[in-house]
């Protein structure tokens, strides 16, 4: 058995990795690599869950690791990559409101604010080990960084990835702060999968330049509008 200090060290390193992936998702313009980075982020999450499991021995953490691995490392990224090939968009270079640099600076500021807010809120609760507090702060930060992606990108498919990354943040936060019943974690994954399927299918309608979609617009006499927003 590896001793506790080593595991805690590993967890710290993995947490830093998560933040790096989040920063990458905010700043990159290449869609395919966003998907693989998301997959990597989920994998890191699996690693953290496993490390926590070896620390605490709670079987729920192991279950979370397995479910996360199957759904978020394999199924969802695969599904999104397939859709992406279909709509033939490789790059997402349009941003609303925020460009990557400002987003990055903003997320650093956010992390600071969250750190201060959480340390105030958690003051009253039983002494939090520094590692768990650190995890909670990064969980919320990841969530807000994901939110920035969701609202600053124009393509629906990148928005979905931002949302997914947000959800990873929630999972991270949940893992460090408390032990939720497994059934809840599981149901959230189901919810996530449905949401991803629906939004990506809809995004085929919005993002694609497929002939088929134009035909539809013709039928509704809506083509004039579609030319304004190609």
């Amino acid at each position: 058995m590896i001793d506790q200090a080593t595991i805690e060290g590993i967890i710290r390193i993995l947490l830093v990795c998560i933040i790096i992936t989040a920063a990458y998702i905010i700043s990159t313009r290449n869609l395919l690599s966003v998907v693989s980075v998301y997959s990597l982020q989920s994998l890191t999450l699996v690693g953290i869950a496993l490390a926590l499991w070896s620390l605490e021995g709670s079987i729920i953490l192991l279950a979370i690791a397995v479910v996360t691995f199957v759904s978020k490392v394999i199924i969802i990224p695969y599904f999104i990559a397939t859709i992406q090939e279909k709509i033939r968009i490789k790059r997402d270079i349009e941003f609303h409101y925020l460009n990557p640099t400002t987003s990055l600076i903003l997320s650093m500021a956010l992390m600071l604010v969250i750190y201060m807010a959480l340390s105030r809120i958690m003051q009253g609760t039983p002494a939090r080990e520094s590692l768990f507090f650190f995890g909670a702060v990064l969980g919320i930060s990841l969530m807000l960084m994901g939110m920035m992606v969701t609202f600053s990108r124009k393509r629906t498919i990148t928005k979905v990835l931002g949302f997914l990354s947000m959800e990873n943040g929630v999972l991270l936060f949940g893992m460090f702060v408390t032990e939720l019943p497994f059934i809840i974690e599981f149901l959230i994954i189901i919810d996530l999968i449905i949401l991803v399927i629906l939004t990506t299918i809809l995004s085929v309608g919005i993002d694609s330049t497929l002939e088929d979609y134009h035909k539809r617009l013709h039928r509704f006499h809506l083509l004039e509008e579609s030319e304004e927003t190609p």
């Binding site: 003051q123 947000m166 408390t178």
Partner: protein, 493 residues
């Protein structure tokens, strides 16, 4: 057993819809589902000891109390009316080619599933379970909006999904906080509302504030409260009118319901002194934004949608007063608003079929000769409009009146602001009706608009709902009042 009955009926409806290719049969399945649901809920109210304890119900996952039943009753009535309305309305969509025949099955399956999920959400004791069902309602109803497959609709649906789901994740973090709060004070963590209510008094107020604020973000987005209301007007205006009625009459209630449940927990801690002013502030802001957006509005469905935002604000203000009387009238307002708003969307759906401009759903409605072409819808809008701005004898008059009376005891300033804003909102609605409904073409050359032959199934729900509202407003049934009182007691106000 009763929950299984609900699920079984829905499964049956889904099977019928999947098996048939006939629009009428699918529609009948949905009408029957809603009616049976309503009958089951009525049975529970009349013949069962509430809170009900039976298989699965009363366990740690589900429970049936008065508030849940109340919401389910509203939901089933609206769903039944909307399903009847959809019979004629969807037929029209099919004829004009706006809805593809292939999407029909998906539409009705999503419809039946939505009702089931909403009922399960209202009967969830576990808050996390409730959260998941509420999330599912967002996703399924977004499908119903996107079903028309016009670019506008997909845009609106995607905006709805993202604004609502992103905010709902915040609510989930709020629930994680709540779980941790209960673990700290009770030893074992729980998200069961009934357990939380029993022990709420010992929860630490500081954590409670953080938890409530996060939960509020989520459910405020779900119920269209400022500043998370941005998805609402678009989604409501672009959706097929039968769906708009459900969105406004039932789905917004899911959000308010969530807020009420968690607020009831907060109400027992000292955190209430921080939370209540916050709610009142957001409520007034919501009313204000809605009122000023209604004023210049030229599109009828958007106007009605903004009026929903306004009413959510009123409920929030009523909740913030946090006296038993105010809560009572907030509950009454939820019911009155749902019924009124559904009838308004039904009427504007008829006008939309008659005058819709094919080029953009945002364009101003070009309404002419409305009393000659669509007399019922015109009167539906006028009467429904009077009802929604709170004219007696319609029920909203009573709820708004008493909420404002209670508000006056807390702060006269807030009362003044709210009164002015309500007048502005009413003015916006009145102005729209006055300017558009008086357009009459020259008597010598009657306009060449073909009257839209409104099927009877689209007229019946409007008449039914308006009649129901009048009856409730004039009689104020004592049994119903008693029922609401029991909810207030259960929420420990």
């Amino acid at each position: 057993m009763i929950l299984i009955a609900f699920v079984l009926v829905s499964v049956l409806a889904l099977i019928i819809i999947a098996a048939t290719h006939n629009h009428r049969q699918m529609n009948t399945a949905c009408i029957m589902q809603a009616l049976i649901f309503a009958a089951l809920a009525a049975y529970l109210v009349l013949f069962q000891q509430v809170p009900v304890v039976s298989f699965l119900v009363g366990s740690q996952y589900f429970f049936i109390d008065h508030l849940g039943l109340f919401e389910v009753l509203i939901a089933t009535v609206i769903f039944a009316c909307a399903a009847v309305y959809a019979r004629g309305y969807v037929e029209g969509l099919l004829e004009s080619g706006e809805l593809e025949k292939g999407s029909l099955k998906l539409f009705y399956m999503a419809w039946a599933l939505l009702l089931l999920v909403i009922v399960l959400a209202f009967f969830s004791d576990n808050l996390a379970l409730f959260w998941i069902f509420a999330e599912l309602t967002t996703i399924i109803s977004a499908m119903l909006i996107a079903i028309l497959a016009a670019r506008d609709n997909i845009d609106a649906a995607i905006k709805y999904i993202f604004v609502a789901s992103v905010s709902m994740l915040f609510a989930f973090v709020g629930f994680i906080f709540l779980f941790e709060i209960s673990r700290v004070s009770l030893g074992t963590g729980t998200l069961n509302w009934t357990v939380l209510m029993q022990h709420a008094a010992v929860f630490s107020p500081g954590m409670m504030i953080a938890s409530f604020v996060l939960v509020f973000i989520g459910f405020a987005a779900k119920s269209g409260i400022f500043p998370f209301h941005t998805w609402l007007p678009e989604a409501h205006a672009k959706a097929p009118s039968a769906v708009s009625a459900i969105l406004s009459g039932v789905l917004l209630n899911v959000g308010i319901y969530g807020i009420i449940r968690v607020y009831a927990i907060v109400h027992q801690t000292t955190a209430i002194s921080t939370i209540a002013p916050m709610l009142a502030g957001f409520g007034l802001l919501t009313i204000g934004i809605a009122a000023f957006s209604m004023l210049p509005q030229k599109n009828l469905k958007k106007l009605v949608a903004f009026s929903s935002v306004e009413n959510m604000g009123i409920m929030l203000v009523g909740l913030a007063i946090s006296t038993p009387v105010a809560l009572f009238w907030v509950l009454f307002h939820i019911m009155a608003h749902s019924l009124t708003k559904a009838s308004l969307f039904f009427s504007s759906g008829i006008l939309h079929r008659q005058y819709r401009s094919r080029f953009s759903a945002d364009a101003a409605d070009e309404i002419v000769d409305v009393f000659r072409l669509q007399p019922l819808a015109a009167w539906g809008i006028i009467l429904g409009g009077l009802a929604i701005i709170g004219m007696p004898p319609f029920p909203i008059f009573f709820s708004e009146f008493f909420i404002m009376l209670q508000l006056g005891t807390v702060s006269l300033w807030a009362l003044g602001v709210m009164l002015v804003l309500l007048f502005i909102a009413a003015g916006g609605l009145g102005y729209f009706v006055l300017t558009t409904f008086t357009h009459v073409s020259e008597p010598v050359t009657p306009s060449d608009i073909e009257p839209y032959r409104t099927p009877a199934s689209m007229k019946v729900p409007i008449i039914f709902l308006l009649a129901l509202l009048l009856v409730i407003g004039i009689v104020l049934p004592a049994g119903g009042m008693e029922f609401l009182n029991q909810i207030v007691t259960e929420l420990k106000f």
